[in-house]
């Protein structure tokens, strides 16, 4: 029988749908009976969502403009290099 500790060990695999059918079923059965593990799984999933929300920020415009400038210079170099070779 799956114990709480066993479930905690495979909790991320469950959240990500990486368990096989039999393992998935034992987790679901355990969760039906165990409130603590339902809370744990819910909180682990919330932590994962939190991280996605936290990290989807944009780079600042000043940094992007510096890249634009480097790229524009490099493109120009290649164009003039090609023109000299023709």
């Amino acid at each position: 029988m799956l114990m709480c500790r066993d479930l905690a060990e495979i909790a991320s695999d469950y959240i990500d749908g990486e368990l096989n059918g039999r393992q998935n079923l034992s987790v679901k059965m355990h969760l039906m009976m165990c409130k603590d593990c339902r809370t744990f799984i819910g909180n682990l999933r919330a932590s994962s969502n939190l991280l996605s929300a936290h990290s989807s920020g944009k780079a600042d415009e000043e940094f992007l403009r510096r890249i634009d400038q480097r790229v524009a210079e490099a493109l120009e170099d290649r164009k003039s290099g090609n023109a000299n070779n023709e």
């Binding site: 905690a8 991320s12 909180n43 996605s52 940094f63 524009a72």
Partner: protein
């Protein structure tokens, strides 16, 4: 939020980049740089990471000519950044490797009794949605602090998988880890974030 470039428009973007179209570069820089910077930040400090990303874009101008689309553009760009960062780090520092045989964080493992049941179960439910939680500036700062304290390999795995929505295969490829080790890295990192949020919700302290 899904701002990802769709496959058809990605194909046309790649063609435009191969032609050296500056408008296409401006679009690609805005679309992909945040993710590239995030990958670089797993390895390097902020200014070195920005420098690497800028250098990578210059490299891309030539390298994209040979890009055959075997992976998506985002994965390809992230791999270039990761390789460059790893090269820079190779001589600089080595970190203590994660013990892949332990799937539970010690702090969590200690919360079970000898029969495998919870001794100290999670007390609070994280009720708020992720977006609501992130409006809490102190929590956001705390998350930054804990993310930067994660071992490099755990942090990279977590961010590529969670924040940049890479598939497992891609993360394994970018970071050179096996699928089973990736599962351990992700789970260990998530547990640390879970423990951090729990402490924060219970005590208000980071």
């Amino acid at each position: 939020m899904n701002t990802a470039v769709q496959p058809e428009s990605e194909a046309s973007l790649i063609e435009d980049l191969k032609r050296g179209d500056s408008t296409a570069y401006r679009r690609a820089v805005r679309e992909y740089s945040p993710g590239m910077l995030a990958v670089a930040r797993f390895y390097l400090d902020h200014s070195s990471a920005e420098e690497i990303v800028q250098d990578c874009w210059v490299t891309v101008i030539d390298a994209v000519q040979k890009f055959e689309g075997r992976s998506g553009l985002k994965t390809w760009l992230h791999r270039i950044v990761a390789n460059r960062c790893k090269n820079r780090l190779r001589t600089a520092k080595r970190e203590v490797a994660t013990d892949f045989s332990e799937t539970l964080e010690p702090e969590l493992a200690n919360r079970f009794n000898s029969t495998g049941r919870w001794d100290l179960p999670p007390k609070l439910q994280f009720h708020d949605s992720a977006d609501t939680l992130m409006e809490n500036g102190a929590l956001s700062d705390c998350l930054d602090k804990h993310l930067s304290a994660l071992p490099e390999t755990q942090r990279s795995a977590l961010m590529l998988y969670e924040a940049h929505q890479h598939k497992s295969d891609d993360v394994c490829n970018i970071l050179d880890v096996s699928a089973s080790n990736l599962r351990v890295l992700l789970h260990r990192a998530r547990q640390k974030i879970f423990l951090m949020v729990e402490t924060f919700q219970e005590t208000g302290e980071c």
